[in-house]
């Protein structure tokens, strides 16, 4: 018994655990000392958590694009951050036109819907276009090759949109209906964040329903399991792949609208950071897994907004918020040490990777 146990545990395992444990100890210690110091009120924590959730909702929708494509093609669609950028960056012109005519504030719901539809349509078209030009000819190439075309496409798209709309910033108009907050006892709930969280949740449910229960969704999962078998069953594999890109693109466009409700400034470089974060959340949750991407995104959003103050403040590290991405990535390493395939990820066999 002892012998087999000893054979199983190697020095490296111990080292890895030491790394994991030390991360855990620092985090717990930091948290306790921060909470003891009482620097932040309960309201502040609540506020941060709500903002983190809203941020996570946006990440979740963008992450869908990564995770769906990964599920089917086993490739990282690096151009997805530009797919995300293209929607809201184009829809800003519609939004401003609607605002100038007064339509947006008279019928805010219709206005936002119109903006969302345009944003989703543009993102979807860009996603389909990228698939057609940069990925389809490389369907059978080594796995890293489409990664490079994705990077190339990402550059190209960034500078194409920069050429179209200029390198300056465009700002979305303020929507009066979403201004302000509800007071619940001592805490405030900002309307924007509430709307974003609810909308993100609804859209994730819708996406989940499409993937799980619609005919196309079933076909998608079939293709993801085995392309050749799916083709033999009469599934149009190329069509399903296009549908997947379209679905991911539409989700990113919708995520873009939720993003601009919170951060109403758009520019050609805006996709990079959210794209990276969404990719991180998709991996964190277990890439290829829809609920996993959602969970990963929520965890990441919360880590980013609550993390620096909670973990580092108590340790006396100055300018903690500058390190927020570092914290997020360290926690990511911590989670992946103990769950190497993400929070909800299956244990992948070599054939799948």
């Amino acid at each position: 018994m002892f012998r087999t146990w000893r054979q199983k545990i190697t020095l490296t395992d111990i080292l890895v655990w030491v790394i994991g444990l030390s991360i855990a100890v620092v985090v717990v210690w930091g948290t306790i000392s921060t909470l003891q110091s009482g620097k932040y009120s309960v309201e502040s924590w609540f506020d941060l958590a709500v903002k983190g959730l809203a941020l996570g909702g946006v990440y979740a929708l963008i992450a869908m694009g990564y995770t769906l494509v990964y599920g089917i093609l086993r490739m990282i669609n690096f151009a997805h951050s530009e797919v995300f950028m293209s929607g809201p960056f184009t829809a800003v012109f519609l939004a401003n036109a609607l605002n100038d005519s007064g339509f947006l504030n008279r019928y805010p719901l219709l206005g936002i819907l119109a903006i969302a539809i345009l944003s989703m349509a543009v993102s979807m078209s860009v996603a389909i276009l990228v698939e057609r030009v940069a990925y389809r000819p490389l369907r059978n190439a080594p796995r890293l090759v489409p990664l490079i075309t994705a990077i190339g496409a990402s550059f190209f798209l960034q500078y194409t949109f920069r050429g179209f709309y200029g390198s300056g910033f465009e700002a979305y108009p303020t929507i009066e209906a979403l201004n302000g907050a509800w007071q619940l006892g001592t805490v405030r709930l900002f309307k924007t964040q509430v709307v974003v969280i609810i909308a993100a949740l609804l859209m994730m449910l819708l996406l989940y329903a499409i993937v799980m229960w619609s005919k196309l969704g079933k076909a998608m999962r079939a293709v993801s399991e085995d392309k050749e078998a799916a083709a033999l069953m009469g599934i149009d594999v190329d069509g399903i792949i296009v549908f997947t890109f379209a679905l991911g693109g539409a989700a990113a466009g919708a995520g873009g609208v939720l993003y601009i409700l919170q951060f109403p400034v758009v520019h050609f470089y805006m996709g990079f950071i959210p794209g990276l974060k969404a990719f991180t959340s998709a991996v964190l949750g277990g890439i290829g897994n829809v609920p996993g991407a959602f969970l990963g995104a929520i965890v990441l959003g919360l880590l980013e907004s609550v993390g620096p103050n909670l973990f580092l403040d108590g340790l006396g590290i100055p300018v903690a918020s500058q390190l927020k991405d570092a914290i997020a990535f360290i926690i990511l390493v911590f989670i992946l040490i103990f769950r190497p395939s993400g929070i909800l990820g299956e244990r992948l066999t070599q054939t799948k990777v």
């Binding site: 190697t10 490296t12 890895v16 994991g20 990964y70 990282i76 012109f93 030009v133 940069a134 000819p137 490389l138 059978n140 190439a141 080594p142 796995r143 890293l144 090759v145 489409p146 990664l147 490079i148 075309t149 990077i151 190339g152 496409a153 990402s154 550059f155 190209f156 798209l157 960034q158 500078y159 194409t160 050429g163 179209f164 709309y165 990276l276 991180t280 991996v283 964190l284 890439i287 590290i317 100055p318 300018v319 500058q322 390190l323 991405d325 570092a326 997020a328 990535f329 360290i330 990511l332 390493v333 992946l336 040490i337 190497p340 395939s341 993400g342 992948l348 066999t349 070599q350 990777v353």
Partner: protein, 564 residues
């Protein structure tokens, strides 16, 4: 009849696509931006090529898809395609007259429409443009009807004229180093572009060369092995000699490019071990580059004032730091595979960048303000000591570094360790089952990769003299990864080719100023689409996989894509 109908449709579709491409290029702004960038002075501008080029290309595709090979029919098809393109272009100009497109598309300006209309009055000018599109379409058809030999001569001649014309400014700059020899070439260029005479000469020379070469049977070399060896060694010697004199021939600016290419070759050789040999996707490779550079910075900069070491004292420490960072990163990710590995390494790269940027570590690492006055390496002793400062001098240091690292990389590849790396890459589970210790194998791959990157970092610090966190962006990792895959994954010569293509080329693309990245992205996609296996693919592991077949070189590309 049915065929004819689909042909018309095809021609129209191609033409529309061509027109849309031109419109998109115009709206991006490059048509107007290169209006005055002449390929042939005052005669052919690059902007005009950007308009007529896509029209011609899509006419060509319409011709390719046409069902009949009849001359008149082809010309008609191509002309229709050209007409369709022209109409789309006209449509943009027309819509632009009615609606102010500029509120959305910054580049839909009057200037653009004027370029469309050849700077004439709008209506006749646009009609002229339409005519030009039709004529270009018809000309492409005429071109395809020519005999192959003339076709290739014409095509190559034109390509070279465009290429040399675009590189005019760089070439004149290079020539200016050559003293009186420059005078010989002066008449080829006027005002940074080809002169008319120059263009004709270039066209005749390159076209003639293509004409002469075409149709000659390719001489297959079947020399005896000893002779082959002699040839190989003398070629190597020749290349070595050229490399030694290169900075003096090309001047300071090209030495700067060579240095950058060299640094990326160094790092590419390292990442090639991690990704190419061992199959571990590393997206945070910049971390080790940063560690190498910052170690040198902290140890040698008198500004921080901790150590004030010389470059060579700090050098081994920097390498050790990079090496151990590689091991440290390797540990937690031993069990991860594929994209989980990618994201953790990416995170590691970001963590390092955030740490060197942070105010928290500012007293030790300089934070935002970076580290300045890093010691340059000194070569020689006593009275013969010489500080390597300019890019031309540092070139030699980088060259020596590359030679050493490339030698190590080749030896590693052929060693037992190299084979275990490759076994791991092909199938980790099987490799472990066969008794390969995946822990040491992975860790050595990471550590060696980190070490090479660390060397790159130290030389970078020496070259630039001051380092800032902004030099260690995620983009650097992406660049290195791209270059080894464009070169051919796992191939050592591929790293050199890839670095030249992806680091050297963008430096030359500086001519395109803010459109540099646009062309870079397009080139990246195009290169991978045309040669998915890389520019200089590695043949060995394919052969290993198919020992019995040993495919002849032509089939290799095909199997390479099939294998994946």
């Amino acid at each position: 009849m049915q065929n004819k109908y689909t042909d018309w449709k095809q021609a129209l579709r191609s033409g529309l696509l061509g027109g849309i491409i031109v419109v998109v290029l115009s709206l991006i702004g490059i048509v107007a931006a290169f209006e005055n960038t002449y390929v042939v002075n005052q005669l052919v501008s690059f902007g005009e090529i950007l308009i007529l080029g896509p029209v011609a290309a899509l006419s060509l595709s319409a011709i390719r898809k046409a069902t009949s090979r009849q001359a008149g029919f082809l010309i008609l098809t191509a002309a229709i395609s050209g007409l369709a393109s022209g109409l789309v272009i006209l449509a943009l100009a027309g819509v632009g007259q009615v609606i102010n497109l500029r509120a959305m598309f910054l580049n839909a300006s009057e200037e653009l429409y004027a370029i469309y209309a050849y700077k004439q009055a709008l209506v006749p000018g646009l009609l002229l443009r339409l005519l030009a599109c039709i004529v270009i379409g018809a000309l492409t058809a005429g071109f395809t009807l020519l005999p192959d030999r003339i076709k290739s001569a014409l095509g190559q001649g034109l390509l070279y004229v465009v290429f040399i014309g675009l590189m005019g400014r760089l070439l004149t700059m290079m020539l200016s180093n050559w003293g009186f020899v420059a005078v010989l070439f002066k008449w080829i260029f006027t005002a940074n572009s080809l002169s008319l005479v120059g263009a004709i000469v270039v066209f005749l020379l390159t076209g003639g060369l293509a004409y002469w070469r075409h149709g000659r049977p390719k001489v297959k070399r079947s020399l005896e092995p000893r002779k082959q060896k002699v040839i190989r060694w003398s070629m190597l010697g020749g290349v070595g000699l050229i490399l030694i004199f290169l900075p003096n021939i090309l001047g300071l600016w090209f030495s700067e490019i060579l240095d950058n290419v060299g640094l990326f070759i160094l790092m590419g050789l390292g990442l090639n071990i991690v990704v190419g040999f061992a199959g571990l996707l590393d997206l945070g490779y910049v971390a080790f580059y940063a560690i190498g550079a910052y170690t040198i910075g902290v140890l040698t900069s008198p500004e921080l004032g901790f150590f004030n070491w010389t470059f060579w004292q700090a050098f081994p420490v920097a390498l050790l730091m990079a090496f151990f960072a590689g091991v440290l990163l390797g540990l937690p990710i031993l069990k991860m595979r594929g994209d989980y590995l990618a994201i953790v390494t990416l995170g590691f790269g970001e963590i390092i960048r955030i740490l060197v940027l942070s105010d928290w570590l500012k007293p030790w690492l300089g934070g935002t303000q970076g580290i300045q006055r890093i010691q340059r390496p000194v070569i020689g002793f006593g009275g013969y000591a010489r500080t390597l400062e300019s890019q031309q001098e540092l070139y030699y240091l980088i060259l020596v570094g590359i030679v050493i690292v490339a030698f190590i990389a080749i030896r590693l590849r052929d060693s037992r360790l190299g084979r275990t790396w490759m076994a791991l890459r092909e199938d980790e589970d099987v490799a472990v089952a066969m008794g390969i210790n995946h822990v040491t194998t992975k860790l050595t791959a990471f550590a060696m990769g980190a070490l090479f990157s660390g060397i790159g970092g130290t030389l970078f610090a020496a070259k630039i003299g001051s380092i800032y966190p902004s030099s260690f962006q995620f983009l650097v990792s992406i660049n290195i990864l791209s270059l080894i895959i464009v070169g051919g994954m796992g191939s050592i010569p591929g790293v050199f080719v890839g670095a030249l293509a992806l680091i050297g080329l963008p430096e030359l693309l500086r001519e395109f100023a803010e459109y540099r990245y646009l062309f870079y992205g397009a080139a990246l996609v195009a290169m991978m689409l045309i040669k998915p296996e890389g520019l200089w693919p590695e043949a060995r592991h394919r052969i290993e996989l198919h020992e019995e077949e040993t495919p002849p070189p032509e089939e290799e590309a095909a199997t390479a894509t099939e294998n994946a």
